[in-house]
Amino acid sequence: MSAALALVARDVRLALRTPAETLTILAFFVIAATLFAFGIGPEPQALARVATGIVWVVALLACLISLDRLFQAEADDGSLDQLVLAPAPLELLVLAKCLAQWLTTALPLVVVSPLVATMLQLSPHGYATLLASLLLGTPSLTLFGAVGAALAVGARKGGALLALIVLPLYVPVLIFAVAAVEASIAGLSPRPHLFLLAGLAVFALTLAPFAASAALRQASE
């Protein structure tokens, strides 16, 4: 247990030492959303129609980009061997890395999401649900992403391969999250969708550490 906590502390400290990395992910989030505003044109109605989808897809891509080197960096500098050889179960250490990753990238995304939502003219009725959906959905993104990142360790084309592996796993999260936000904009209850999101998170939490650990053990062969 204390090994896992030490790993969380180390990763958070690494992120704090180079805040540029977290800031870069945030900037990507804001800039990519801006790009869409440009791509779609200035009419507020047209934007508002698709705002939920865009906020969520962009958040998802930002998560994806941040996952790129989650385990590859550990493999490159030899730390992965030390993690695999640590007495603590690898599943626990993977969870610790995911937690640190979520704290240092996904959580900041959630915090700035209202800003992006405003830029994209999202209906104010959707804000609370947007935040809730991000809080419930991003853990799944991080956990599924960790599986992909573990599978891609040592592969020749990191970034795009990771995207290819992970994006199909992200689709259900995206669908339920957007449905939740759209429901509350339409004046309906977002609860069933949010419950599904939470269910997905629990599912990811139980499955992902095992899949990722299995992948990492192979990677260190």
């Binding site: 204390s2 090994a3 906590l5 030490a6 790993l7 180390r10 400290r13 690494l14 030492r17 180079t18 490159d76 500098d77 030899g78 730390s79 061997d81 030390q82 993690l83 695999v84 050889l85 640590a86 007495p87 603590a88 179960p89 260190s220 062969e221």
Partner: protein, 209 residues
């Protein structure tokens, strides 16, 4: 063969396949407490592969690896607790200081962090304890990786070309650490192309067949 369980590390008829090719097979080895086993052999004969196999990072494609007579794969967690492995890479994060690295390593291996400062001193890194790893030269990085061995004691040291890039003083520091480890009943297995100081070292030459 004898039927009394051998103390320490014992491999019987080990085989290793990598990239679809058999790197070695029918390899026997044994190392009792206090032993230093030096792996030798030309490039590509499987020294690094054998070390990863002994660490449990790589599964042998055949044969049996035992510790104190008990098969290692029956309790992998116990084996992880007794192994300390130093590979080609030094496992250093550019922005963390040496002291932080040492403390993290101790926590990871679930030992108290008391020995960290002394370990850095043993490799002449005491003055650099507060320096982030990115400012270190190649040889200094290597020494930091070796200092971990001293900071978090483990019964079995597996060292892959530990002297790579070390200057003469550091090679001596390593020899001292190895001697102290052996004197306290530890086992060391090291792969190297160079001469590796060590009283009564045993040599295993790979690819000699």
């Amino acid at each position: 063969m004898e039927s009394t369980p051998t103390a320490g590390l014992e491999g019987r008829a080990l085989a290793c396949r990598r990239g679809g090719r058999t790197v070695f097979r029918a390899l026997d080895l044994a190392a009792a407490p206090g032993d230093l086993l030096v792996l030798r052999g030309a490039n590509g004969t499987g020294k690094s592969s054998l070390l990863r196999l002994l660490a449990g990072l790589l599964a042998p494609s055949d044969g049996r690896l035992a510790w104190d007579g008990e098969a290692v794969d029956e309790d992998p967690a116990a084996h992880r607790r007794r192994v300390a492995y130093v590979g080609h890479n030094d496992a250093l994060k550019p922005t963390l200081t040496l002291a932080e690295h040492m403390r993290f390593h101790a926590a990871l291996r679930a030992v108290p962090g008391d020995a960290c400062a002394a370990a850095l001193d043993a490799f002449g890194l005491g003055a650099l304890a507060g320096v982030p790893a990115r400012f270190l030269s190649q040889g200094q990085r290597r020494r930091a990786a070796l200092a971990r061995l001293v900071a978090a004691p483990a019964a079995l040291w597996l060292l892959d070309e530990p002297t790579n890039g070390l200057d003469a003083a550091s090679v001596e520091a390593l020899a001292r650490a190895v001697a102290r480890h052996r004197a306290s009943g530890g086992i060391v297995v090291a792969a190297t192309h160079l001469e590796f100081a060590g009283a009564s070292a045993r040599t295993l030459t790979l690819g000699a067949a």
